[in-house]
Assembly symmetry: none
Homo-oligomer: 248 residues x 2
Amino acid sequence: MLKEERQQIILKILNEEQKVIASDLSQRLEVSEDTIRRDLKELDNIGLIRRVHRGALRIGPPVVDFSTRQHMLNEVKTKLAAKALEYINEDMVILIDGGTTNLNLVNQLPLTLKATIITNSPPIAMALSNHEQIEVIMIGGTLFKESMVNLGIDTVDALNNMRADLYIMGIHKIDPSIGITVPSLSEASVKRKMVSISNEILGMVTSDKLGTFSNHIITPTNVLTYLITEDVNPDIKKLYDSQQVTVI
Amino acid sequence: MLKEERQQIILKILNEEQKVIASDLSQRLEVSEDTIRRDLKELDNIGLIRRVHRGALRIGPPVVDFSTRQHMLNEVKTKLAAKALEYINEDMVILIDGGTTNLNLVNQLPLTLKATIITNSPPIAMALSNHEQIEVIMIGGTLFKESMVNLGIDTVDALNNMRADLYIMGIHKIDPSIGITVPSLSEASVKRKMVSISNEILGMVTSDKLGTFSNHIITPTNVLTYLITEDVNPDIKKLYDSQQVTVI
DNA sequence: TAAAAACATGCACGTACATGCAAAAATAAC
DNA sequence: GTTATTTTTGCATGTACGTGCATGTTTTTA
């Protein structure tokens, strides 16, 4: 097992369980405690975890709410991510913006994947810290804290010089007749720019978002190449098929 | 159960119930009363709770996020940060790059501070997600995973259009005769640019970094306005004073 | 005021830790 | 494909940390 891979697993466990214990990790990952300690030390040094005696804790706001709903949603999103992985290939240039669904996907990317990932979302960038083979290009801008993405003129400008094979769009609301919508103007313009510089566009949505809309229209739904959802309703599928959108 | 974890639980309980009783906690957390007493003592020393006979009381209004603050207080880097806070004023434009020392500082910024913070470090940006009054501007670039900062031509370009009142520089190595040095070229050029667009420059270093150097020189030490270290050695101070650097 | 509870202190035990070093593995160079 | 070089790993050493218990002291309460 590679070091990076192991550290990635540690981060994943830490995300799920809020804490890790060194001796425990040693057993689960089948390496010596010394190695685990070294891993934890490294992750602590770059600020990804909080090292404490005997183990480490998650950094950032504590996820206190252990509600099952949250947990279930996470499982659904993991399924969506698994489907999306099919469309991600070696050496692609992938543009990906924010959202927990996208974050979930990134966390599932194989450590061996070689690719270029462009993102305007700090959490996405941080999640890729252990993917040696992935070149991460961050797009700057003004941080929009509600959804943790960089937005604004600078963001759009920076995107002007780039092209992507695949844009993995975080979708808030989507309706086949109205289009893909977001609640804020600046988010809309950045996403619109992202659409324009990408060859293919993939969107993941949990089914409860289908048929909902907000006030700023990014684009009609027919720009989507793939629409991924957890259970494919035949009616929905027909609706989008007529727009040349592949529903999976 | 980890010590820090237990203390967080205590804080959480205290947050919800206004007061805690030592013997009670001992049962709920399944540790000896001695341990609880020690926990309460520590939390009291840090100033997060008010210790009283039989238990402890909450200080001030309920808080949401104590997890970050808790572990830091009492550490060397925190002392540095506390000193640095003196030089951060309302409505400043602050440029800050990566490093755990800087991350520590950011975590200590008062939640009410109104300012603009420019950074090329995703962890720094994420740490500021709770600060409503702070406008965060992220500088994009290629993510340099070893130190979690964005670097490269795009980064330097983006900085061209900006000006900052104060640059809080993460310092790897510093030597009064050689200058401030880093191990990588791209990091050096970005930091050099940051220096050039900033009015004042503040550096925090733990004393073990004083008198060390690496292979890429950013700038001589005399560009620093303030140099903050944990215990100010008179010799060192004299050395830097002759370069118009205020050592604190 | 006496008994009980809570406390501070010091000690001992087990575990976790940092450090240096050598073997092993992975990567680079030839 | 083989060799050289770097990185990673495990082990040994000595040290530091966290916990519970024993002791004596202070505070609470009956």
